[in-house]
Amino acid sequence: MAEQRATNRGPGRLLIAVYILFAIAATSRAGLQIATKFDEAPVAYLLSALAALIYIVAAVGLARAGHAGRRVALACCSVELVGVVGVGILSLADKELFPDETVWSGFGSGYGYIPLVLPVLGLLWLWRTRHDPA
């Protein structure tokens, strides 16, 4: 059985579904935090908003596929990986820096570490579909 190798089909579509879920989760969380208690932890909340934006753009990039879409997805997954690892280390090293939880705190432990796994899967998928003609 030949499985499709297009970026936005098969496993790619599952990836898009999970990215949509995280886009919703991060957007609602950031929106609420910024709207109701921005002054408490502006850095953490702006970071949540940035994460939300990246999840949205990554989902769109993967769904659009094609040359530009894949470029966008590649950039998003890379930033995400750097972000989740960086924030994870920083949140462990200096709790003062992020007084409130973000999607990426503790390597995404509040979300079952999926924020850490997701960009890796995204990059692997982009690599496996690198010959996608679309």
């Binding site: 579509r13 898009i16 579904a17 919703i24």
Partner: protein, 131 residues
């Protein structure tokens, strides 16, 4: 005092429990289908439809309670979770329809694993003050 708080949550009843159980059942069924290289079958779509009805019922119960003057502990988060919740089964439905392969079943499984978490978070955001 405690009895009032316990009786106060409209999202903690049989509908919520049924939604969680049903969602997990669909997730298991979809996982089996994905492992067996099966596209989403009729049962998965029927399950998603029933789940959506249960979640809409939950939303109506919550809105009725709000109309009766009850208030969730964290209103903003509560409404966020409520809106997200009723959107989840349709999201799984649409994506599974677009993907008639084993990965469609995997999508149904993933969304049905997230749904119970959102139901529990919904309950927590109601109970913050009353609990």
């Amino acid at each position: 005092m405690t009895t009032a708080a316990a009786a106060g949550s409209p999202v903690d009843g049989i509908l919520a429990t049924a939604s969680i159980v049903l969602s997990l059942l669909i997730a298991v069924w979809a996982l089996v289908a994905a492992v067996r290289h099966r596209a989403p079958d009729r049962l998965q779509f029927v399950g998603l439809a029933v789940l959506e009805v249960a979640l809409l019922g939950l939303a109506v119960v919550a809105l009725v309670a709000l109309g009766g003057g009850e208030r969730p502990g964290e209103p903003g988060a509560f409404f966020g979770y409520l809106v997200t919740l009723v959107c989840l089964p349709p999201l799984a439905w649409v994506l599974a329809r677009m993907e008639p392969t084993r990965w469609g079943s995997a999508i149904v499984c993933a969304v049905c694993l997230v749904t119970p978490v959102v139901v529990v978070r919904l309950q927590q955001t109601w109970e913050v003050v009353g609990g």
